[in-house]
Each structure stands twice: as C-alpha cells, then as structure tokens.
Amino acid sequence: MYSDKVMEHFMNPRNVGEIENPDAVGQVGNPKCGDIMKMYLKIEDDVIVDVKFKTFGCGSAIATSSIATEMIKGKTVEEALNLTNRAVAEALDGLPPVKMHCSVLAEQAVKSAIYDYAKRNNLSYDGLDGFDPNDEHDHHHDIEEDH
C-alpha cells in the first residue's frame, strides 16, 4: 500500500515535537477526518531555521508532515510557500489515491504556519493569496458510492 519511503518516514519521523517560543504555529485538519497537523516554525531573516510538527493521523499524515518539515527547513519563507502537495507526494515516491489529501494537508500546515507568521509580523506574501486557514474543506468522501 505505502511506498518504502512513506514507511520509513512514518517509522522514523523527522522533526517531531514542539518549538519553545516559536515564531509561527499553524494547525490544519480536523478530528472528523482523522487528521490534525500542527507545525511550529522558527524564522530568522526570512529563513526557516527550525521546524517541528505534531500530527494526529494515519501513516501517510505522519509521513507527509515529516517530509514537509525536511523540505522547508533552511528555506526562505517564500520558497516554503512554493511547496506543493504534489511535490510532497513525489518526495515520498507517491501516495495511494485515497491518501493524497494528506499531502494537501501538509502543504496547508506549512501555509497555515506562515500565515500566522505573516499576521504576527504584519507581512504579506503572494504565496498566501487566497489561502484561508479556516477553510476546512472535507478532503475525504471524494469517492462516490454507486448503488
């Protein structure tokens, strides 16, 4: 079902935990869907110098959180905003179709944290255009049951 890469990140997730006095915190997902991702950022000179996450969710939710933190660590905020869910999924050698929403969640967790950073510091980023951290659309139920 999952690629070796997913399993590896699931079993040995990178950057688990919290950051004390973070410069930004974002949380996405909801318990109904069974996935909650929380991301902490430490940002210096517009560069993400540290990132940690906590995730309640399935194997791929944990794996996508883990790899997303790896992918944005050391990057500028703008670069981090360019992270797409597709890139997250590809970095994990793919995800099963029903799990693609986890990569969307990871992308949104990053955006949500940066949104918090922008708000705290009165900044604005092109990459946040149209992003609403409270827009909790339901990522499941994409497969219609036939009868």
């Binding site: 079993m11 949380q27 909801n30 318990p31 069974g34 906590k54 309640f56 399935c58 194997g59 049951e145």
Partner: protein
C-alpha cells in the same frame, strides 16, 4: 518479519487443516456437477446433502431450510431484498439498527431509494438496542425486522430472543445477521424465533466465498439469483462443492468443541483486556462488558489514530483492525463507534483485537508488551495529547 501474531479473527480466519482435507477430493476427483445424474454428479450431490444436514443440525433447523450462498453479504442482501420485494403488498417498512454490517445497512439504504421506508434503531453506549424502541417502531406496514446477532466491531450481542418474540407477536419477519455469532455461541433458530439468518464460512475457519441463509419453512421471499434449479430452485448457480463441504466441516468442528472454544478464547480475551488496561492510560473498552462475543476486544486508545497504530503493530508482526476490515478502505470513522456515542477523534483511535482458536497465551503477552510503547510514541507525536499532558 519473524513473529506473526494474528488478532483479526473477526475479519477472517485461516482455514483449519481438517477443513482443507475435507475439501480436497472435490476439486479434481469428485468434481462432477451436482445437478448431473451420473456417478461424478451423485458424489458431489451426496456431499452437499451431507453438508446441509450438518449445518441444519447445528442450528436446530431442518435441511430444507438451509440455502447455500457465496457468503455473508449475499445472504444479507438476499434476506433483506428478498423479503422486501416479496412482501411489498403488505407494506414497505423495514426496521433495522444503526450498527448493522454494511451488507444490511447499504441494502436498506438502497431499498429506501426504491421507495421503502427504513427505521434505524439507535443503540445505547454499549451498542444494545432498546426493546421498547423496537416495539414502538413497529407499524402495520412493517414487513421485516433485521437486527444483527452480534456486532462485528464491538462484539455486542443483541437480545435476539426478545426480538424474535416481538416479531412473532406482530407477525413480522425477523432476519438476523449471525455472521459473527455463528461458531462462537449456541444458536437455536426455533427457540430464538428467527425466520431468516445469515452465516458465513470464512469467519469460523471455513473457506472464503461460501455462506448460507437459513429460511424458515413458509417464509415468503423472492430469489436474489435466478437461473438453474439449484438449492431447490431458490438460489441459482453451480454449487461450490468444495466450499460447501469445507463450510460443513468447519461447522462440525466448531460445534463439537463449542464449549472449549468459547472458554479458550474468552480467557484470552479477558487477559488481553486486563493486560492492556494495566499498561495504557486513557483506554475505553467499547461494547458491552458481558454481552459480548467471546473473542472480541475493542479499545478506544485516546489521542492516537487507528491506522498509524495498525501500521506500527504490523511492523512488529501483529495483525489487527481498526473498526471493521470491510470499512477500513474508506477511513471514515466507524459508524458503529459513532452510534455508541464516541467523538470522531476517539472513534478514529479504536483498535479491534479479536482472538481465535490459534491464539496462544504468548501471543497475548507479546501484544501486551508491544502495544504500550507504540501508543506512547504516537501520543508523543499527537497534538491532541499535549493538551492532556499540560503541554503548551
């Protein structure tokens, strides 16, 4: 992977060696079509007749009330649709519960689209229906009560005899999905007032793809599968002879050893319930404390999600399930756990461990050793847990 501990007997069971041995001659030696009159055919026919007798006897019914199907789902569909279609001149109202297996639930939903009305009885925190609510739900146009014998997720056993009595008093057919109960408890269809009952072979160490529907004599029901004259012209299709023979062998073994089997798995179940409770905080046992299947353990493990538990357990060789295996593909929280009042996040974190005849004490010890650190690791990762522990 070295050690393998299978704790998902409610999803499916390995076939017993005796069952496989019984089936073997029917694959390519006595392989004839049972409808044929020559020797090859009579051999298979005789095997089916014998199988039907064994299963009939196990339920205290008669052989001409047992109809072989391809499994529990077909039996459920046949019972519910068959009764609905054959009795619509009397009425189009069906009573069921909101904790049925999807084979009943989705069939009822389909019938709703076809103009039937369905009352879904709710259950209490243990998963039990209320007899008073059932009585109140019966209407003049009610044609069927379909309530499962024992729940596949939380193991709760319904008051079948009382339901049967109410059905009889109100002249309504009573179907019960006994897929989980059969082989795990004594069932006497007459004593319990059951009109139709679904069973499946692969849940009691028999082959996959074989089941049966008990249909009491005189019950008015349409066919689900039309065609040849098999099964007294009520269920068409060349009989799955090896499957039927294996099913009967499994039933025979189950019923010869029923008391020992129940004692064995009950003690393992209780050991598991106690052992985990002692080692893990924030556990909630789902289902009824006593009216439950002998092999069923269902725990909600708060602050963690089920799939990540399953994956972690699989890495150490433990196979179990989070809600019903049949629904795990969808990853929606189990409708049964929602029905007993769990919140979404707690429902997502439920673990079903079902023990069976091949489970050993060591298997249970192994799980009690392996599960707690896995839970702890996942909780450390969980943003829901930090609040409880007074994190930031």
């Amino acid at each position: 992977m070295n050690k393998r501990v299978y704790l998902d007997y409610s999803a499916t069971t390995p076939m017993k060696q005796e069952v496989l041995d019984a089936m073997m001659p029917y694959f390519n030696v006595s392989f004839g079509n049972p409808s044929s009159i020559y020797t090859y055919g009579r051999e298979s026919k005789g095997a089916i007749d014998k199988a039907r007798d064994i299963i009939a006897k196990s339920l205290n019914s008669s052989p001409d009330e047992i109809f072989f199907t391809a499994g529990g789902s077909e039996s459920d569909n046949w019972a519910v649709k068959g009764i609905a279609y054959a009795n619509r001149s009397k009425g189009k109202h069906i009573i069921t519960t909101n904790v049925e297996h999807h084979a009943v639930l989705h069939t009822c939903e389909y019938l709703e689209k076809e103009g039937y009305e369905v009352t879904y009885l709710s259950v209490d925190e243990y998963g039990l229906i209320s007899i008073d609510q059932l009585k109140a739900a019966i209407r003049p146009d009610t044609i069927l009560i379909t309530i499962m014998f024992a729940n596949n997720e939380i193991g709760t056993i319904q008051p079948i005899k009382e339901i049967g009595q109410i059905a009889r008093n109100n002249n309504v057919y009573f179907h019960t999905d006994a897929v989980q109960a059969y082989g795990n408890m004594k069932i006497d269809v007459n004593e319990l007032g059951i009109d139709l009952m679904s069973v499946s072979a692969h849940k009691l160490y028999g082959p996959k793809g074989t089941g049966a529907l008990y249909i009491k004599k005189g019950v008015k029901i349409h066919q689900l599968i039309h065609g040849g004259g098999q099964e007294k012209r009520r269920r068409a299709g060349t009989e799955n002879v090896p499957g039927i023979v294996g099913f009967a062998k499994a039933v025979q073994l189950a019923h010869e050893n029923l008391e020992d089997h129940i004692k064995h798995i009950t003690s393992l179940r209780d050991k598991l319930i106690t052992g985990l409770k002692e080692k893990i905080q924030y556990l909630k046992l789902n289902g009824h404390p006593t009216k439950r299947l002998p092999g069923n353990v269902n725990y909600s493990i708060e602050f963690v999600e089920g799939e990540s538990l399953l994956l972690s357990l699989d890495m150490v060789g433990i196979a179990c399930s989070s809600g019903s295996a049949c629904t795990s593909g969808s990853l929606d929280p189990s409708h049964v756990l929602m029905a007993i009042g769990l919140t979404h996040e707690v429902a997502h974190g439920s673990l079903r461990l079902t023990v069976g005849d091949f489970t050993s004490e060591e298997d249970i010890d192994y799980v009690i050793e392996k599960l707690p650190p896995i839970v702890e690791k996942l909780r450390q990762m969980s943003p829901l847990y930090e609040k409880v522990k007074g994190g930031n």
